[in-house]
């Protein structure tokens, strides 16, 4: 527990470094937030506008202003969406991205583990091979191909689900599938390999010799071992799902943060880029710490080594 809290505390300096890097990098990029197809009446007006966002000051001074506002929980005004603060946008987008990401996570986990177990169980016969092939297929088809195909089949030809937006659980089905399928394929492979490794180990051979039934062997003895790689993978997986939903958000017109994260860098929306990078990195680091700690709880070898 103390270890967990210590690691959480370590997040603060890490976040500072990340925010400073993001802060400096966006200011290094060519093109400014206020360059547009239509010029301002004169240079002076642009300068005044930039001054309002402290862009006329040295980077470290700007960073000081940023930290001051951050302490008050204020990520600043968006430079592109001039009526909105970054907080406004995060408040609207984050719950959506989280809902999408978590749903896809649970889907990927449940489907992946089920598939992996059956693949390992049926290894050697046709079902096993077909399922292994299916998992491979899941990994190979990118979401920008799968998404439109799913829309075409299940929303346009057979109008079962809505094509876009994210209002009801029905709206979530196709996006969650599109986002989760790749990861379920990956998990399935991890699980089935893990179980097969476990099944080949000495203690299983002993158990088998003692006459334990094959089903019991699989679920009680091999699965808990086979699933450990999935646990360690689930940290980066969650992070991937929460941040990597840009394509899916775009395809299904889902009002999450992914779209803003990508567009903010195209728009040179400095405040938004830094704000979103900060939020995403907090989530990523936090989930990784949680999963690491969980792993320690589950695997006695790690626990005892501490």
């Amino acid at each position: 527990m103390i270890h967990f809290i210590k690691r959480l505390a370590m997040m603060i300096p890490l976040m500072l470094v990340i925010s400073l890097l993001a802060f400096a990098l966006v200011r290094l990029a060519p093109g400014g937030p206020f360059s547009g197809e239509r010029s301002f009446a004169n240079e002076q007006i642009l300068k005044e506008l930039e001054a309002r966002y402290h862009l006329d000051k040295p980077v470290l001074v700007q960073y000081g202003y940023f930290l001051r506002d951050l302490l008050r929980g204020d990520l600043g005004m968006s430079m592109k969406y001039r009526n909105h603060t970054v907080n406004d946008i995060v408040r609207q987008g984050l719950p959506v991205s989280m809902a999408l990401g978590f749903s896809a996570f649970v889907f990927a986990m449940s489907t992946g583990i089920t598939l992996g177990v059956i693949t390992a169980w049926k290894k050697g016969d046709l079902t096993g091979d077909l399922l292994a092939l299916l998992a491979l297929l899941f990994i190979c088809v990118p979401s920008m191909v799968l998404g439109p195909i799913l829309i075409l089949i299940f929303a346009v030809y057979i109008p079962l689900f809505p094509t876009s937006f994210f209002h009801t659980p029905w709206h979530a089905v196709l996006p969650v599938l599109t986002l989760g399928v790749y990861y379920s394929g990956k998990i399935s492979r991890l699980v089935s390999e893990g179980i097969q490794d476990a099944l080949a180990s000495d203690f299983i051979r002993t158990a088998r010799a003692k006459g334990v039934s094959p089903i019991l062997l699989l679920f009680r003895h091999a699965l808990p071992m086979g699933i450990l790689p999935v646990v360690s993978y689930s940290g980066p997986l969650l992070a991937d799902l929460l941040t990597g939903s840009f394509v899916v958000e775009n395809l299904f017109q889902i009002p999450g943060l992914g779209t803003f994260l990508v567009n903010s860098s195209l728009n040179r929306d400095h405040t938004m880029i830094v704000g979103l990078v900060l939020i995403y990195s907090t989530l990523i680091i936090f989930f990784n710490i949680v999963v690491d700690s969980l792993y320690a709880v589950l695997d006695p070898r790690i626990r005892s080594s501490r």
């Binding site: 005044e48 009526n83 346009v156 009002p255």
Partner: protein, 555 residues
């Protein structure tokens, strides 16, 4: 062994046959529904009119907006002294019932409609206009469209803080609650057209005072237009509802209207085909890969549009400081090939910069635009016979792998091939991302660059004016005092024919000197079923007041 069993218990996978796995599935369904629970659903019924409206608006403040998608929403919320007629897009009385013009055509006196009110019940007075316009000109607000107001006396000086100490301020004032006076620098024949633009709209000073930046996001924001803002959900929808206090409320056709901020053309088409969207209202929302198929449909509409795709030459650098070189490159372009093979949506090759169909203006005879032998001759005269000795040149464009900007790359490749074929010159292509491209273009850090211009109002001046010497949108380094004088003179001339002839002379100089090479005129594109959706009339400005649009019930 015991430890392993312990772990199995955590996973609750004790029963052989895998009944633990369905448990995980149950969890998934629960989490999914719980997650959905936090989301606001589409309250109530579907809107009466749903519009696929291109990208998310940057703002809904009439002073801040720049894009056409933003303007569609803003025009339904805020009205000015004049508004546009849905059929002709001509300026007609809005919040002003009538006006008088002084003899020298420099002073306009507007009488507001009696009894007009903000949606919160407060009366709309001439003072509101004075405050709204001052706010629009306030340099602190950095309105990109402030330049449209420079026809007004003192407006430019006020906006650029040139007369910090002057008492006078811009030349408009409320004479009393009902009367608003505007003094122009010079007579402007298109002044009434300007007044329909969002930047001239009445904005609620009383609400803005309370919340200067986020006022538009506050609840029940007072509006002067036909619709009130019900919600603005980023990347989801903007919903507006009939404003019962609008002066012309009885002619507002649809009760509730949704604007969907969609930037992916396929998404827009899907929603349209499924009946979730009534109108696709943006030329950028047409999926180019199926355009041939769409062109055969009855609900696919195309019309002339006030926009030109063109190239800018940097006239401050060799070899483009020589007009003969610029003309040669322009004459070598086979525009028809570009519109037929690449853009393919019925665009017209452009021989002039001002689009054909612009109000009160016609260039007359069509100039020759594709003449390779003349192009070679001009290049030889400039000292590069058969392209010999021509310095390395770069064509600069902004690119994207998908969407409307994906054509820029194809056009660039085509141009490169044409210049090689007809002039035997090597042109390198340089692609950059939009913001970088803009900065480079603005600072003349290019040789030849892709450009486009969309007219703000239906008059040739909205195009020609940008190449006057002092214009910040010029971006070519080209300065011509004769051109400047002609534009200036034309804008002071009220007689239509005399003015047209002056503008024609100006455009002639522009085409002869060729700091630009027009390529094609854009087409406006809509998708809607004309049997169901009524009140959309095609006009060259592609402006269609939402208040006039309705969808037949029963569909």
């Amino acid at each position: 062994m015991s430890k392993i069993r312990g772990r199995a218990d955590i996973f609750n996978l004790r029963i052989p046959g895998g009944s633990g796995l369905p448990c995980i599935w149950m969890v998934w369904v629960c989490v999914l529904f719980a997650a959905m629970g936090c989301r606001p659903g589409p309250e109530g019924r579907r809107a009466d009119l749903v519009i696929a409206n291109s990208v998310e608006p940057e703002s809904l403040d009439p002073v801040f907006i720049t894009g056409q998608a933003d303007a569609r929403v803003v025009e339904s919320l805020f009205e000015g002294l004049l508004r546009i007629d849905p059929e002709s897009a001509a300026p007609v009385p809005g919040l002003a019932a009538s006006w008088t013009v002084s003899e020298d055509s420099r002073v306009y006196t507007f009488s507001l409609r009696p009894g007009i009110r903000w949606s919160d019940g407060r009366p709309i007075t001439a003072m509101d206009f004075e405050k709204s316009w001052k706010r629009a000109l306030d340099p602190a607000n950095a309105a990109r469209y402030a330049g449209l107001m420079f026809a007004i006396e003192g407006a430019e000086a006020f906006h650029t803080r040139r007369d910090e100490k002057a008492e006078s301020g811009p030349g408009f004032r409320a004479l009393d609650d009902q009367t608003f006076e505007v003094r122009l620098v010079e007579p402007r024949s298109y002044f009434l057209h300007l007044l329909t633009m969002p930047i001239f709209a009445a904005t609620p000073a009383h609400a803005i005072l309370e919340s200067p930046i986020r006022w538009i996001l506050e609840e029940d924001v007072p509006v002067s237009g036909a619709y009130c803002l019900e919600w603005w959900r980023l990347n989801d929808s903007i919903r507006v509802r009939r404003n019962p206090l609008y002066w012309d409320n009885e002619n507002t056709r649809s009760e509730v209207v949704d604007f969907l901020p969609i930037s992916n053309p396929s998404t827009a088409l899907n929603l349209y085909l499924m009946g979730d969207v009534d109108v696709i209202w943006d030329k950028d929302l047409v999926p180019t890969h199926v355009v041939d198929e769409l062109m055969g449909r009855d609900d696919f509409h195309q019309f002339d549009y006030l926009g030109t795709y063109f190239l800018r030459f940097n006239t401050t650098l060799k070899p483009f400081d020589d007009p003969r070189v610029r003309r040669a490159l322009s004459l070598a372009i086979d525009r028809e090939r570009i519109t037929l093979r690449i853009t393919r949506a019925g665009e017209k090759p452009a021989a002039t910069f001002v689009p054909s169909g612009t109000h009160g203006y016609d260039f007359g005879r069509t100039p020759v635009i594709h003449n390779p032998s003349r192009a070679r001759q001009l290049l030889a005269e400039a000292g590069y016979p058969d392209g010999k000795g021509f310095p390395p040149v770069e064509y600069y464009f902004n690119g994207a792998s998908s969407g409307p900007a994906s054509n820029h790359q194809k056009i660039a490749v085509e141009l490169q091939a044409m210049w090689k074929e007809h002039l035997n010159i090597q042109v390198k292509l340089k692609k950059n991302e939009w913001k970088v491209f803009l900065v480079d273009q603005e600072s003349l850090n290019y040789q030849v660059s892709r450009s486009s211009w969309i007219g703000d109002y239906n008059d040739a001046n909205t195009f020609l004016e940008i190449f006057t010497s002092s214009e910040s949108n010029n971006r070519t380094g080209w300065k011509n005092s004769q051109f400047d004088a002609l534009i200036d003179q034309a804008n002071r001339t009220l007689d239509g024919d005399a003015r047209e002839s002056l503008l024609r002379q100006a455009e002639f100089i522009l085409l002869e000197e060729a700091p630009i090479a027009p390529v094609y005129f854009y087409k406006g594109t809509h998708m809607f079923d004309a049997n169901r959706v009524h009140g959309i009339h095609f006009n060259i400005l592609d402006r269609h007041p939402v208040r006039a649009v309705s969808v037949s019930p029963g569909h």
